[in-house]
């Protein structure tokens, strides 16, 4: 079980201004600015749960994961994972931990993956039998058996990512942090990895935190969602709830040839934000106002190709992040 209470983290970064003169100045006296990356975060995740961690760039997701895995210290607050303090880096904790970083290779660059796995076997003291059965199962499932003996630097991004996943799961970890595991992958690989994670979840029942910018990952894997903005968690609850909160909103799209300016007036009068691409217009409208609005539109403008739909999760989160900012 992960318990995080009032966790804050700030980074001290040297202030650097461009230019030679400032470079000399900083030689004599360095100025620092403190940058708050996490601000009073509290969170609990229990066994068998996957928490989806979502937020814009720089929101603090990776920082949270780094603290939970013991890579960096926290500034204040308390953290415990499986009753361990991650920062103490006890071997008993690290044997159960896995961090998958989409951004950064963990496998040894010059070695074939198979050799890295042998090293990991030694590091985690995996018994022979368990090692071979795990390796077989994982490589079979992800379809990378044939590339095991190719140096990692010669693999494609997707192949490498799958190798990384195998490496991260060989020791049957109980706590798994996935930081953008599907970044840069094609749709088929993304899907394979998602399916694979589901399977793993069913079989091992670990604690998992997944951060991703692809909403499909979150929708398929995480029943629970935490939204982060500027170092704070602004929503933590079921994914469905947040969808329902915006479930009354419909998205309306149509084509228009001219009369653009009139259209802007039309929507701003009704306090609706309009988005245009070439001659397609899209707006989000409360479902009760939808019929009236469409009637007026058809009476006053020549529009075609009208579509309405429920808003997708991307725009739900987008509007949630901006909605909370205003209030």
């Amino acid at each position: 079980m992960i318990k995080v209470k009032n966790l804050s983290k700030s980074f001290k970064v040297p202030r650097k201004e461009a230019g030679l003169k400032n470079a000399f100045k900083s030689l004599i006296k360095k100025e620092y600015i403190t940058k708050a990356a996490l601000n009073n975060v509290s969170l609990e995740v229990s066994r068998g749960e996957i928490l989806g961690l979502v937020g814009s760039n720089g929101a603090g997701k990776t920082t949270l994961v780094k603290i939970l895995s013991g890579i960096i210290s926290s500034s204040s607050g308390s953290v415990s994972v499986l009753d361990f303090d991650p920062w103490k880096r006890k071997n008993a904790y690290r044997r159960q931990l896995s961090l998958i970083m989409g951004q950064k290779a963990q496998l040894w660059w010059d070695l074939p993956a198979a050799d890295s796995y042998l090293l990991l076997k030694e590091i985690y003291q995996i018994e022979n039998k368990r090692f071979h059965s795990n390796l077989d199962k994982l490589t079979q499932y992800l379809g990378v058996k044939d590339q095991l003996n190719v140096p990692v630097r010669k693999l494609s991004l997707g192949e490498r990512m799958k190798m990384e996943l195998v490496a991260a799961l060989l020791h049957d970890p109980q706590v798994i942090f996935l930081d953008e595991p599907t970044i840069g992958l094609d749709i088929i690989s993304q899907k394979a990895i998602r399916e694979f994670l589901k399977e793993y979840m069913l079989e091992h029942n670990p604690i998992m935190i997944l951060t991703s910018h692809y909403m499909q990952d979150i929708e398929e894997l995480c029943p629970r969602l935490a939204l982060m903005r500027a170092g704070e968690i602004i929503y933590d609850g079921p994914l469905n709830e947040i969808k329902n909160k915006f479930g009354d909103i419909r998205s309306l799209k149509f084509d228009i040839d001219h009369q653009r300016s009139g259209l802007e007036d039309f929507f701003s009068k009704r306090d609706i934000k309009m988005q245009c691409t070439q001659n397609q217009v899209s707006v989000k409208i409360h479902k009760e106002k939808l019929t009236d609005c469409m009637k007026d539109l058809l009476n006053n403008f020549s529009i075609s190709n009208i579509q309405t739909s429920q808003v997708d999760i991307d725009s739900v989160i987008e509007s949630y992040l901006s909605y909370e900012k205003k209030s």
Binding site: F11, P14, T62, K66, S69, G70, I71, I72, S73, R89, N91, A92, R94, R95, L97, S98, L99, M101, Q103, K104, Q106, W108, D110, L111, D115, L118, L119, E122, I123, Y124, Q125, D179
Partner: protein, 267 residues
């Protein structure tokens, strides 16, 4: 213990494969640096001997001086291995992240990497000693040779910890290159890499014996090449143990302070 040894061996073989993968670069840089040192010192000392019209100075003849420079420049390579970078690069580029996740000590990994090149150079040194014995009719002795090799090994361990201390300053400083160069120059001077210590004036000679470098570089070479040596083998072993403990303690302290500064860059 067994686990740590296995990890050490793994790290060692990984580095070994890297050396083989980039072998041309490895040998070229090695041979060039040793050859340059030996040729330059040979020419220099030859002319010094000629001008003074002597065949021996402070107990060295030209032959012995060449052997001295050869041994000391290889031993210098053994001690500093691949030089600065193996740890600081991990800190600067965030490769440290993955090692912090493993239930194994980071230092074990890095010592494996460090010792790889050292041991390759050591093999070269041993083979050359055999060559000297047969072709330059050097006056070597099997016992002192073995003692010298043992001393070089423990010096390497001391140097690994010393390098670790310097490299860990990467937690605070944005560049530690100059720090490395500085220590390297002090070591070259005090360890007898430029000229054998007996050529120094008395005051400097006394002063540098307060630094660890004569014991870690100069005296092991004296023992190895069967030259007169002020300290017995066992005294040197004790002095080595002393410095190894000091450096080990210091690097643990610096690591302990520095880990709070680490911000896990790169992800």
């Amino acid at each position: 213990m067994k686990k740590n040894l296995n990890i050490f061996i793994h790290a060692f073989t990984i580095e070994l494969r890297k050396v083989f993968a980039y072998k041309l670069e490895f040998w070229a840089s090695f041979i060039f640096s040793v050859a340059a040192m030996v040729v330059v010192s040979y020419l220099l000392w030859q002319s010094i001997f000629e001008v003074n019209n002597v065949t021996q100075m402070k107990g060295y003849d030209l032959n012995e001086l060449v052997i001295y420079y050869f041994c000391i420049s290889i031993t210098h390579k053994i001690l500093v291995s691949s030089g600065m970078g193996i740890i600081s690069r991990d800190i600067y580029y965030g490769d440290l992240n993955k090692y912090l996740l493993y239930p194994v000590s980071y230092q074990i990994f890095k010592s494996g990497t460090y010792f790889t090149k050292s041991l390759i150079y050591l093999c070269v040194l041993i083979i050359s000693l055999l060559g000297f014995q047969f072709f330059l009719s050097a006056d070597l002795n099997i016992l002192t040779c073995l003692q010298g090799i043992l001393l070089i090994l423990s010096s390497t361990l001391a140097f690994f910890f010393l390098t670790t201390i310097l490299e860990l300053f990467a937690f605070w400083a944005e560049n530690i290159w100059s720090l490395g160069i500085m220590i390297r120059s002090i070591m070259a001077f005090c360890g007898g890499w430029m000229i054998p210590l007996t050529f120094f004036p008395e005051s400097i000679y006394n002063f540098i014996h307060y630094t660890p470098f004569p014991y870690l570089l100069y005296y092991p070479i004296q023992t190895l090449t069967n030259q007169p040596c002020e300290y017995s083998f066992f005294t040197l072993v004790l002095i080595h143990c002393f410095w190894i403990l000091i450096f080990y303690g210091l690097q643990a302290l610096v690591w302990h302070k520095g880990k709070y500064k680490y911000s896990g860059v790169g992800i």
